[in-house]
């Protein structure tokens, strides 16, 4: 083997491995479908329409950790409302008889570990559009743990834990709202 090939081939292999590791290690955003709860709902159904507004979220940077974007969280909430029948109609940033505001207050994510536990704190407020009366307002704090068995790659494990915390958060809030009788 020539002296040139002695260095070129191992160098090429190293470059390919590093590239693969980098690509495998890039963070991806949390997915709407993964954040929408898949559960059997038992809620009081309302005939009115609700408009959903979410704030406090962030976009995901490939070199950072998976974050929750406002629009994705809002769409997951919309999906949960549709699946549960909590309201007959729902829109994101639209109009309706009711308004559901959700503030993503705190997303606590670990940086290292074999298992990742993510904590999500949100504040939910349901108000009636006709007179701006606040019908229900509450902070909701949830968590989810993803283990090595869920995903070997750390960034994927973190995304799964973040999606799980979001899913639990929506589940808790919709269940609580579904227990009250709206007028």
């Amino acid at each position: 083997m020539s002296a040139r090939n002695q260095f070129c081939i191992p160098g090429l292999v190293t470059a390919l491995v590093v590239t693969a590791l980098c690509l495998g290690g890039c963070a991806t955003a949390t997915q709407t479908a993964a954040m929408a709860p898949k559960t059997e709902w038992h809620v009081n159904k309302n005939a009115g329409a609700v408009t959903i507004h979410v704030g406090g979220g962030s976009e995901t940077s490939a070199m950072g950790a998976s974050k929750i974007a406002d629009e994705d969280f809002a769409k997951a909430i919309q999906q949960a409302i549709a699946d549960s029948g909590l309201f007959a109609k729902s829109e994101v940033n639209g109009s309706g008889d009711y308004r559901l505001d959700v503030q993503i207050a705190r997303l606590q994510q670990p940086m290292f570990g074999a298992s990742f536990t993510v904590v999500l704190e949100t504040t939910w407020r349901l108000s009636r559009q006709s007179d701006n009366a606040i019908l229900w307002e509450k902070p909701v704090v949830t968590n989810f743990t993803a283990n090595m068995s869920d995903a070997f790659v750390g960034v994927t494990r973190l995304r799964l834990a973040t999606e799980g915390a979001a899913r639990n958060n929506i589940n808790d809030a919709i269940t609580q709202i579904g227990a009250i009788a709206l007028k």
């Binding site: 704030g55 406090g56 505001d101 207050a105 705190r106 407020r125 902070p139």
Partner: protein
């Protein structure tokens, strides 16, 4: 909260994160004072009764030759219910790191810009 108007807030109290030994609560209070608010800082048990909102935060630090603040989250909360009215966030990895006062300024400017 989306659409929440924070302009009526005057007196704020920054609650020190128990694990924080770097005085980040003082940086936040100082910056709020520069922004025109009447802000003080201290322990949760000493929260004054006459404040308009409580400010909480979570800071995260990493080591890369020196320690630097990689992430800062700040929340403005109703004093009675602790419900979050607004929140701000900054994430800066090592190559784009900023000093803690700069990170605080960045987060608070963004937070109050979204809720004028």
């Amino acid at each position: 909260m989306p659409g929440t108007d924070l302009s009526s807030l005057k007196k704020l109290y920054v609650v020190r994160l128990p694990a924080d030994q770097r005085g980040v609560e003082r940086l936040i209070a100082d910056r709020l004072n520069v922004m025109g608010y009447q802000a003080t800082a201290g322990e949760a048990v000493n929260t004054p009764a006459d404040i308009d909102a409580v400010v909480t935060y979570q800071d995260k630090w990493m080591w890369d030759i020196t320690m630097y603040m990689i992430e800062l989250n700040v929340q403005v909360r109703q004093p009675k219910t602790q419900a979050a009215l607004a929140s701000g966030h900054s994430l800066r990895t090592s190559l784009v790191r900023k000093s803690p006062p700069e990170m605080v300024a960045e987060v608070l400017t963004d937070l109050f810009k979204k809720h004028p």
